[in-house]
Amino acid sequence: MSPETREIIVNGLWKQNPGIVQLLGLCPLLAISNNVVNALSLGLATTLVMAVASGSVAVVRDYIPQAARIPLFVLIIAALVTVVELLMHAYVLALYVVLGVFLPLITTNCIVLARVEAFASKRGTLHSVLDAVMMGLGLTLVLVVLGGLREVFGKGTLLSGLDLVFGPVAKDWVIQVVPDYQGLLLAILPPGAFIGLGLIIAARNWLEGMRARRARVDSPLGQTA
């Protein structure tokens, strides 16, 4: 793996994670993370849109005039999102209903436009797609963790609603993490999304802080700070 590829992957998943570092695309992140299935679905839909959008922008980047840059990006993204929306409407209706307005809102998700603008419009196609996928997966990761946390704390289950994707068979796949759980309703409600995201960001900062501290102690200048 070339260092550049590695950097793209690390940036997307951790260093520049859109959800908890760049804090982009928070609107769907907060709205759709009340359980794992919703979170994963929206995350993957976003990733798909990002990959195709970044890829296509990277291909045509040399033909895009400077002034019409943003409208063109939005045009491409909007078209892709609408295609995804139509497909989901046709084949996974239940999920389509649950995701509701947040599906078309992927168009205005800053992270999609941000990666197109900051990366795909300047770099090669393969790297752009990789970057988009990694950023999308980074977002999905945060969404899934947040969705998982909220679901476990709020309902005591994991993967509830899987039947929306795979049909009634999947009803049995729901994992009851804590039997007879009272349900911390706050976690499911909108405030729970904010508190949960805050805790995840705090946890990441704490980890980074520990790493930085360890690095400092190891360095010859250690202890001074």
Partner: protein, 211 residues
């Protein structure tokens, strides 16, 4: 000046090209997915209605058998709704009515009631509400089986005086906390049954479907 005009031309034609391409892509997808979308919408609606129907099944196309329902105060509807007649072997087995309870704790509670021809409730399902989470939202079948208390009930059983929550001296149980929500729903179901009683014949009329 030439330079100036060129710039505008380039920008405009790029946007033009992308707009046309995007529009074509969308139109194409739309045409391709339209049948699939229609079909799955219909299936979803069927699934919901089927929940309030008797388990022994039906054999007609419910959606096509839909007939308009006026915004009658007994139904609590502010806009005309729909009724679906389920039939088996040409005989009506139940009718599904759209109805609403306007006096929920936080606004309207909309629901479907399936009623057998003999006036007993086959099932009640809440389709939308704004009740306080944790207090009044146990009327959703996904949160609690409470709403099944209506199954098999009719205007004669229990007696009209007992069509109340327990707290008010009726027969209907409720869960700890606010009583407004179940109270509203019990009242609304009773009224729907009254509406059914008043319009039984037209609701169950097995008029030949229009060709």
């Amino acid at each position: 000046m030439i330079e100036f005009r060129n710039r505008i031309l380039v920008t405009a034609s790029a946007l033009l090209a992308f707009a046309m391409f995007g529009a074509a892509l969308l139109s194409g997808t739309f045409q391709l997915t339209r049948p699939a979308i229609e079909q799955s919408e219909r299936a979803a609606k069927m699934k919901l209605i089927a929940q309030v129907l008797p388990p022994d099944g039906f054999d007609n196309d419910l959606i096509r058998a839909a007939r308009p329902l006026p915004a009658d105060p007994l139904l609590g509807l502010r806009h005309p709704g729909e009724a679906y007649l389920a039939m088996r072997h040409g005989q009506p087995v139940a009718v599904v009515l759209e109805a609403a309870a306007p006096d929920g704790y936080s606004g309207e509670i909309r629901f479907l009631v399936g009623i057998r021809p003999d006036g007993t409730v086959a099932g009640v399902r809440v389709t939308s509400h704004h009740e306080t989470p944790g207090l009044g939202d146990y009327i959703e079948i996904g949160k609690s089986p409470w709403v099944r208390v209506f199954d098999g009930k009719s205007l004669a059983d229990p007696q009209p005086v007992n069509w109340k929550v327990r707290k008010d001296g009726g027969l209907f149980d409720y869960m700890a906390g606010a009583t407004i929500t179940p109270r509203a729903l019990v009242k609304a179901v009773r009224r729907t049954l009254e509406y059914f009683q008043a319009h039984r014949n037209e609701l169950l009329a097995t008029t030949k479907e229009q060709p």
